[in-house]
């Protein structure tokens, strides 16, 4: 009986309460779901916005990485130089300057894991190069495509490298750039473009620019001795979401040469006193040998010798003749005629001394201009401002930059891998005292730029170029040693001691605080060319190509 009563009581409550619980649960679940979905949507939108931005930006920088890899690997001293095994001797000269024919094309490919990259294949899955055909009428079908190189951009510690797919290197034309370089109203598609860093405009001012090849077709011929071939580098990068970015450089090798005919350096020691400078100090100690005879073995055909000492302003002629005649046997090398008056020509002298007339603007100077042997200095090396700009280019491409006052020990410590096989570009912003040790001199190799005062001890040796531009003072110190300079020295003062630009160039060579013997300075065309570079490939332009 009790059992039945309890059972009835339970039955009477069930219909009223069980539905409410259900409703509460359903409503609660519904509301929580709505809130959760709203939050998810908000977070998801934000994430996808940020993700899209990130992938688009990463593609851009991946493209830049591709451009920089190609630009870096064009440089002869890069460990991954593209012509390291001389496989592309048809593209690059032994000194590393480009010699590409009009239709030659080289790709560097960078496939991701498990994918194939073949820009010459029209299959979209292989990332075809559709841009080349837009720029060159013959398209990839008519191009001389070289064996492609693999990218070296991957980093072992990272799962994947930059996401660019390929980089193309090729010569460039007006048509390819869509730029009428010479203003003749025609976009020339057959003439390779060169870059002439020594070009002058009609006002006789430096106006480095692109110029057309001397003649259309292949092989390309530079229109001037200082012209170097310009190259186009194009990179395709693809983002994870499929977005593509196509970026392009136009680059040209940067070669340091003061000589308008690109014959290297005009003398073992060049004192740049500008076009009209009148302040020059040349006071090396007796017995300090300066030799313009080319010590390169084997020497190039011409010239076998340069002057021992050269200067550029005729105003200093009398002074220089007097100074070299103090110790005439110290200076050997090519003989050149003295500059024209004023002042009146002195008696013939035997020491090697070369007056450097200045570069003339086009059209060529009349026949009544002073006769000279050899090549004049570039206009851009004759004023403090423009010469400083050249030195800034060197600093921008330097391997090591030190602040002065510095010592040779600091250079050796900062550039431990500098060897004859691995010459470097060293810049010292300030004074440098270059000395080595007793016995075998400590040697440096490559290009040394000192913007302060260089004090050179015969216990040190330098093989290559020594540029003392800024304070422009080359001093000697010490008494003994077997070191010296093999290559060439260039001295020019562009700034006063406070750092202000001078109105005209000056130069100081000597004196010495000791007997400072050693081997002196010996010209070597081999070391000059080695140190000259190309120092880097200068970026002439950068732009992004819009993809359809």
């Amino acid at each position: 009986m009790n059992k039945n009563i309890n059972s009835n009581a339970r039955k009477s409550r069930l219909p009223r309460e069980s539905g409410a619980a259900m409703l509460i649960a359903v409503f609660a679940l519904l509301l929580i779901s709505v809130v959760a979905i709203a939050l998810l949507v908000s977070t998801g939108t934000n994430s996808s916005l940020a993700g899209n931005y990130r992938t688009a930006t990463s593609a851009y920088y991946a493209g830049i990485a591709g451009l920089e890899e190609a630009r870096g690997r064009l440089l002869w001293k890069n460990p991954n130089y593209i012509n390291l095994t001389n496989s592309y001797s048809n593209l690059l000269s032994p000194s590393g300057t480009p010699t590409w024919n009009l239709t030659q094309v080289l790709y560097i490919t960078n496939p991701g894991p498990g994918e194939t990259v073949d820009p010459t294949n029209p299959n979209p899955a292989y990332y075809p190069d559709t841009e080349y055909g837009q720029e060159f009428a013959w398209g990839l079908g008519g191009a001389a495509i070289q064996t492609p190189l693999a990218s070296v951009s991957s980093v072992p510690s990272l799962p994947v490298g930059p996401s660019y797919k390929w980089v193309r290197i090729n010569p460039v034309t007006e048509k390819a750039l869509n730029i009428d370089v010479n203003g003749d109203g025609i976009l020339d598609g057959a003439s390779v473009l060169f870059y002439d860093p020594a070009r002058l405009n009609t006002s006789n001012q430096p106006a480095a620019s692109l110029v057309l090849a001397a003649t259309p077709g292949s092989p390309p011929v530079a229109p001037t001795p200082t012209g170097v071939e310009a190259l186009e580098i194009t990179a395709l990068a693809v983002a994870a979401n499929g977005g593509q970015r196509l970026l392009q450089y136009v680059v040209a090798p940067m070669i340091i040469s003061p000589d308008v005919a690109d014959q290297g350096f005009p003398a073992a020691v060049t004192l740049d006193d500008g076009a009209t400078g009148s302040v020059l100090t040349f006071n090396p100690p007796n017995g300090y040998l300066i030799n313009g005879v080319d010590s390169c073995n084997p020497p190039p055909p011409t010239p076998s010798s340069v002057a021992a000492v050269a200067y550029s302003s005729s105003a200093n002629q009398g002074y220089m003749v007097g100074q070299v005649n103090l110790n005439p046997s110290d200076y050997s090398g090519a003989q050149y005629p003295p500059p024209p008056p004023p002042p009146p020509p002195p008696a013939p002298f035997s020491p090697s001394l070369w007056y450097l007339p200045q570069q003339s603007a086009p059209p060529p100077p009349p026949s009544s201009s002073p006769p000279f042997v050899g090549s004049p200095l570039r206009q851009s090396w004759l004023t403090p401002l423009s010469l400083d700009a050249v030195m800034q280019d060197i600093e921008n491409s330097a391997d090591v930059v030190l602040s002065g006052p510095a010592t040779g020990a600091q250079i050796w410590a900062a550039a431990p891998s500098m060897t004859a096989a691995n010459p470097m570009t060293i810049v010292v912003n300030g004074d440098l005292t270059l000395s080595g040790g007793f016995g075998t001199p400590q040697s440096g190799y490559g290009l040394l730029l000192v913007t302060g005062i260089l004090t050179f001890h015969p216990t040190a040796a330098w093989n290559g170029l020594v540029l003392v531009v800024g304070q422009g003072q080359f001093l000697m110190a010490g008494h003994h040693g077997s070191g010296g300079i093999t290559g060439a020295v260039f001295v020019a003062q562009t700034r006063d001691s406070s750092g202000n630009l001078l109105p005209t160039l000056q130069a100081t060579f000597g004196p010495s605080s000791g007997s400072a013997l050693g081997n002196g300075i010996n010209y070597s065309s081999c070391w000059v060319r080695t140190a000259q570079g190309p120092l880097t490939y200068k970026v002439l332009s950068f732009h992004e190509i819009l993809l359809p």
């Binding site: 409410a20 908000s42 620019s209 400083d388 950068f542 992004e544 819009l546």
Partner: protein, 217 residues
């Protein structure tokens, strides 16, 4: 009755939460929109500045006209195209903290263009005009010819808005207003802010090497 009371309470709590969530969602959406707009804006500015100065005079041995090349990555006023002004001193209005005109070929077939970014109030405007021979880049790109590009830009606000930002981010912006464009110049001692003493004598428009972009939205 008890169940109903609990149900009402839970419903109230849920609706309250839902309302909060909705408000949060709306504000987050607006913020996302602003951020996205700012990202796109910065991305476009970076692209334009990255390709600024193309093609330069150095690409021509004999340019057919002055409009064929970019005189400089950035146009300037006063004095264009003559003597470049000094950033932070004689340059007015451009290049300035809230106004810059990029000279470049955008690849649209129109040749070199002037691309102007100008902040007016809280709106950053952008406009593109083809460069013309003898043209004045500032006169060619008046505000009326520009289009709104990024809204709700806070870099140059004053009053309560500035106070809110200062309260929200104390010590974050010690100097107000915050320039959108800050320029770095090439100097013999390396890159220096164009307005710094170290850049004196090297702060002309043609010495600009980098531009820092700060966009507050």
């Amino acid at each position: 009755m008890v169940a109903m009371a609990i149900f009402v309470l839970i419903c109230a709590a849920m609706f309250g939460l839902l309302q909060l969530s909705q408000q949060k969602y709306n504000s987050e959406s607006q913020m996302s929109g602003s951020f996205q707009e700012a990202r796109l804006g910065v991305d476009q500015i970076v692209r334009d500045i990255s390709i600024s100065g193309y093609p330069s005079l150095g690409m021509f041995s004999n340019p057919i006209s002055t409009a064929a090349y970019a005189a400089s990555p950035f146009a300037w006023d006063p004095g264009y195209p003559g003597v470049p002004c000094n950033v932070g001193s004689t340059c007015s209005p451009t290049p300035g903290d809230f106004d810059v005109i990029v000279e470049t070929d955008l690849g649209n077939g129109n040749g070199v263009s002037w691309v102007r970014y100008q902040l007016v109030g809280t709106t950053l405007y952008r406009g593109v005009v083809t460069k013309t021979v003898g043209g004045d880049p500032v006169a060619a790109t008046p505000t009326s010819a520009l289009t709104p590009f990024v809204l709700n830009v806070m870099n140059n606000v004053t009053g309560s808005l500035q106070a809110q930002i200062a309260a929200q981010y104390p010590n974050r912006f010690p100097n107000w207003p915050v320039p959108i464009f800050q320029y770095t110049c090439n100097t013999p001692s390396g890159p220096q802010p164009c307005t710094s003493a170290a850049a004196t004598n090297y702060n002309t428009v043609k010495n600009i090497s980098d531009v820092d972009i700060t966009l507050l939205v």
